[in-house]
Amino acid sequence: MLAAVALGGGAGAAGRYGLTLLWPAAGGGVPWSMVTVNAVGCGLIGVLMAVVGERPGTHRLARPFLGTGVLGGFTTFSAYAGAFEELSGAGRGAAAFSSLLITPLLSLAAVWLGWTVTRGILLRRRRPLPPAAAPGGPAAPAGSRDGAGP
């Protein structure tokens, strides 16, 4: 269990480091690579937790390896807090507060979206739609995300 978390954490941290090398923060601006890392990681944990919750057959190490390890190591709270300190210390108040607000807003929206969409898809797959009640065409198109049934 701990080994799975450690391996995942190393991979996640490397992914985050790689992204900041490819996309370095512009001096004095909002560190978009940090914002993106956190928002993407939050969207993916929403997907993962919906899969783990709706599919009991998921491998027992999926959550510690992918969730606690990879995504936990990929996303970071310290760099988020550190960015505020760095930017505000450099007199870049607007960028500091933008980063402070945008990161949690995007991340919380992403985890909600990832969880909701994935769970909707899994529930739809598990329970085929009942025959359309109303005549005159299908009640819900196949790609629709809502109307997943009771």
Partner: protein
């Protein structure tokens, strides 16, 4: 070499967060995610100390990659924080969910500032 430092730090930080979370969550029975909050505050304090030490010339860039990007980066987490906030909100605990966001942000900021002030006092 830099990659190895980040990976080694991450391989230590993530299990440290897992163990911190387990130890903290075993000590109370509220649904509030104190464990993740503790890991995030600890990671932020560590990062503040480290950036302060780098600024003062007391720590190298390599140490910053190992302990800052790797260890503190993986000890702290945004994904678990946001998922736990979502769970609280879904369970109807809207106030605790909002408080988790507010307390996490304020405490982590305070920890970074404290860490860098401490580093300044120690090494500057």
């Amino acid at each position: 070499m830099n990659w190895l430092l980040v990976i080694a730090g991450g391989m230590a930080g993530a299990p440290l967060r897992y163990l911190t979370d387990r130890a903290v969550q075993a000590r109370h029975d509220s649904p509030f995610p104190w464990g993740t909050l503790t890991a995030n505050v600890a990671g932020s304090l560590g990062l503040g100390l480290l950036t302060g030490a780098v600024l003062a010339g007391a720590a190298s860039q390599q140490l910053a990659l190992l302990l800052g990007t790797g260890l503190c980066g993986a000890l702290s987490t945004y994904s678990t924080f946001s998922y736990e906030t979502l769970r609280l909100a879904q369970q109807g605990a809207r106030l605790p969910a909002a408080l988790n966001v507010l307390v996490s942000v304020v405490a982590a900021l305070g920890a970074v500032l404290l860490g860098s002030a401490l580093a300044g006092a120690l090494w500057a």
